[in-house]
């Protein structure tokens, strides 16, 4: 999952980036001012945007409106010190999906981020079931017919993303975009490597064919 954090308090931005990377293994991009943040939100596709309101250059709500007028449906979590009910209502009415006031609890923050991403892919249950495969997105555990499968973080993220978008064809470029941050050197064969590793681990006998390859289009997991 790839997250954009627009927050002018640099240390706070780095702290929440760190917790998202360490805890969830997300790819995180940082922006410290409004104009740059809006540009990044427009030019990349993110799974979640964390937005401060009082930003230099451009107010957070203006960024939000600009994103929403572009028909961008990326979930947005407003993270701000302005916590009066009218502020919260204004924020949600401008098109944000959640509102968290500073100071906040890191655990709660991460849980909200996960819920927002899950919801944005139309999944209510944190356990995603694909035939015999069950992915527990909270404990980040994968089981096949009840047997625990040990995956590397990148393998897990690839599988989770494909599972969240079950029923849709996901291209290699999309996978790259959603699993790696801005600074990553992008080689699409990285994805091929992870997919083949995944297939070996979850279905060594090639009985279920969970991850299908559609030549020239991408990968498909049947829901």
């Amino acid at each position: 999952m790839r997250v954009l954090i627009i927050e002018d308090e640099k240390r706070l931005a780095k702290n929440i980036a760190q917790v998202l990377i360490e805890h969830e293994g997300y790819a995180v991009d940082l922006s410290f001012d409004g104009i740059d943040g809006l540009h990044m939100a427009k030019s990349n596709s993110y799974d979640l945007i964390i937005l401060d309101l009082r930003l230099p250059g451009m107010h957070g709500l203006d960024i939000l409106k600009a994103i929403r007028t572009q028909k961008n449906t990326t979930p947005v979590l407003i993270l701000t010190a302005c916590g009066t009910p009218s502020d919260v209502i204004k924020g949600l009415d401008c098109g944000s999906d959640d509102y968290l006031t500073k100071p906040f609890d890191m655990g709660e923050f991460v849980a909200r981020c996960k819920a927002l991403i899950r919801r944005s892919y139309g999944k209510a249950n944190p356990r995603i079931t694909i035939g015999p495969l069950v992915i527990d997105t909270v404990a980040r555990k994968v089981t096949l017919n009840g047997n625990h499968i040990i995956l590397s973080p990148m393998e897990y993220h690839t599988l989770e993303y494909l599972a969240l978008r079950a029923g849709q064809v996901v291209s290699k470029e999309e996978l790259l975009e959603h699993l790696y941050d801005f600074n990553w050197e992008r080689f699409s064969n990285v994805i091929e490597v992870y997919i083949s590793m995944l297939r070996k681990k979850i279905d060594p006998q090639k009985k279920y064919n969970i991850i299908k390859t559609l030549r020239g289009q991408g990968y498909l997991v049947e829901g």
């Binding site: 706070l12 702290n15 916590g83 100071p103």
Partner: protein, 482 residues
């Protein structure tokens, strides 16, 4: 103070006024009425006297007939009530008084008298007899002299009961009292009604005022449809006051919300830093960095709280700041000395150009003012440049210019710079450590000293903060007194 009803007071005043007017008018009316009645009785008595006299002194008729006639005459007159008479002779020689006319005397008189009797005296008087009051006339006639009847006098007294007149007067007084009471009562009632009508808009305002709370102060628009001309200025100033209150409340709210925002930010930072360290086991270096970061946040909070307190202290009208004559150049030198280490660390060159100037003011506040200005220059000017402090003085004021080579403040933001928690958009980098209150405090101090502060900034001249402070103590005293 004892509360008294305006209605009652005005009512009582009007009632007393009406009472006096009614009393005077009634007094005049009573007097005239009584006078008229008495005059009427007197006229009756006088005309009766003439008749009695005519009858008495006429030559015709016997004594009995005359008595009868007299009785008839007087009975006919007794319309006002009982009527009585008495006629008697006085013999000056014997000193005897004869009641009633004796036949002899009468004849002697009527036969021999050559001329008419002369009226000696006539008196009108009020009598009280047997608990009855009378109006009476007493006439004394001197009989003409002749031989057979030596100097004699005839007295005629007629009395008419004044009971009826008194009754009439009593009736009149009753009518006057009732009318007076009605007039006073009507005046009281009318006054109350007029006052009630006059005060109605005030009641409606009071009713509206009682519903105003702090939250709807800004939205309230009191309506007074039929306000009287005399109350227009009151209603207008009341509305103005509401608007001013709403504005002040709004400013206060904004300040509190800004302050809360600024306080929450370092707390959020500290909390996130500490939680991050707690999430999993880290190495010693990580913990050391975390502690350093958290301490930095605590310092920032401390600084912010201090500045908030400073601001409220300066602003408070009851603040007691000791004012004295101070050498302003010495104050600025002290401040420069204090900043020396930081200036050296960042590679700034500070060029002071001071001249001696004395000023009446608060040493502590003026130190704070220049501290904040130099702090500001250090924060926002590019490192390793020159900061200069120039000072000019004339008879009335001292001007101090703090100049740095920053010059990145947009023209339209120059005025906003002194607003609380305002940071110009480009420089709004929290890592500079500013609380956003320094310049607001500076402005407040300058205002407290009766001076002015403004800023000029562009790329060619850099940024210049110009402070001018008056030397005149009287201005400051009056400002303090305000």
């Amino acid at each position: 103070m004892k509360l008294r009803s305006l209605k009652a007071r005005i009512g009582v005043c009007i009632a007393i006024l009406m009472l006096i007017v009614v009393a005077i008018l009634s007094g005049i009316a009573y007097h005239e009425f009584k006078e008229g009645l008495w005059k009427n009785m007197d006229l009756t008595l006088q005309s009766d006297l003439q008749q009695v006299k005519g009858l008495l002194f006429s030559a015709q008729g016997s004594e009995m007939e005359k008595k009868q006639e007299l009785t008839d005459l007087l009975n006919a007159q007794a319309t006002f009530g009982s009527f009585d008479y008495q006629i008697w002779f006085e013999d000056h020689i014997s000193g005897q008084t004869e009641m009633y006319i004796t036949s002899d005397l009468y004849h002697a008189y009527t036969q021999h008298s050559a001329s008419a009797p002369v009226l000696e005296k006539s008196v009108l008087l009020d009598l009280n007899y047997n608990n009855q009051s009378y109006r009476a006339i007493w006439a004394r006639y001197a009989m003409p002299h002749n031989r057979s009847i030596p100097g004699q006098t005839v007295n005629i007294a007629l009395a008419i009961s004044s009971h009826y007149a008194f009754h009439e007067v009593g009736e009149f007084v009753r009518v006057l009292l009732i009318a007076g009471a009605i007039v006073i009562w009507a005046a009281w009632g009318l006054t109350q009604q007029i006052l009630r009508w006059g005060l109605k808009p005030l009641h409606s305002l009071a009713e509206q005022m009682s519903h105003i709370t702090e939250s709807d102060l800004a939205t309230i628009n009191p309506s007074c449809p039929d306000v009287h001309l005399e109350l227009v200025s009151f209603v207008t100033s009341w509305k103005d006051m509401l608007a001013r209150l709403a504005k002040a409340m709004e400013e206060q709210k904004r300040f509190i919300s800004d302050a809360a925002h600024e306080l929450k930010t370092p707390i959020a930072l500290m909390k996130s830093t500490l939680q991050l360290a707690q999430i999993k086991k880290r190495d010693t270096e990580y913990y050391e960095n975390t502690i350093a970061d958290a301490l930095e946040d605590v310092d920032r909070l401390h600084n912010l709280v201090n500045q908030l307190l400073e601001l409220s202290r300066i602003e408070s009208p009851t603040s007691i700041t000791r004012r004295e004559w101070i050498h302003l150049n010495n104050v600025i030198e002290d401040v420069i000395e204090y900043h020396k280490p930081l200036l050296d660390e960042k590679g700034f060159v500070l060029k002071p150009d001071l001249c001696p100037a004395d000023l009446y003011g608060s040493r502590e506040q003026l130190q704070c003012l220049f501290n904040n200005l130099i702090d500001n220059a250090i924060k926002y000017a590019p490192p390793k440049t020159t900061i200069s402090i120039a000072m000019k003085t004339d008879d009335n004021s001292v001007t101090i210019i703090v100049h740095d080579e920053g010059g990145n403040i947009p023209q339209e933001e120059c005025g906003l710079l002194f607003e609380r928690f305002y940071r110009i958009s480009k420089a709004r980098d929290r890592n500079s450590g500013g609380s956003g209150l320094g310049l607001a405090i500076a402005k407040e101090i300058v205002l407290q000293h009766g001076g002015q502060i403004h800023v000029e900034s562009n790329h060619t001249i850099g940024t210049r903060f110009i402070v001018s402070l008056p030397k005149n103590t009287r201005n400051q005293e009056t400002r303090n007194a305000d």
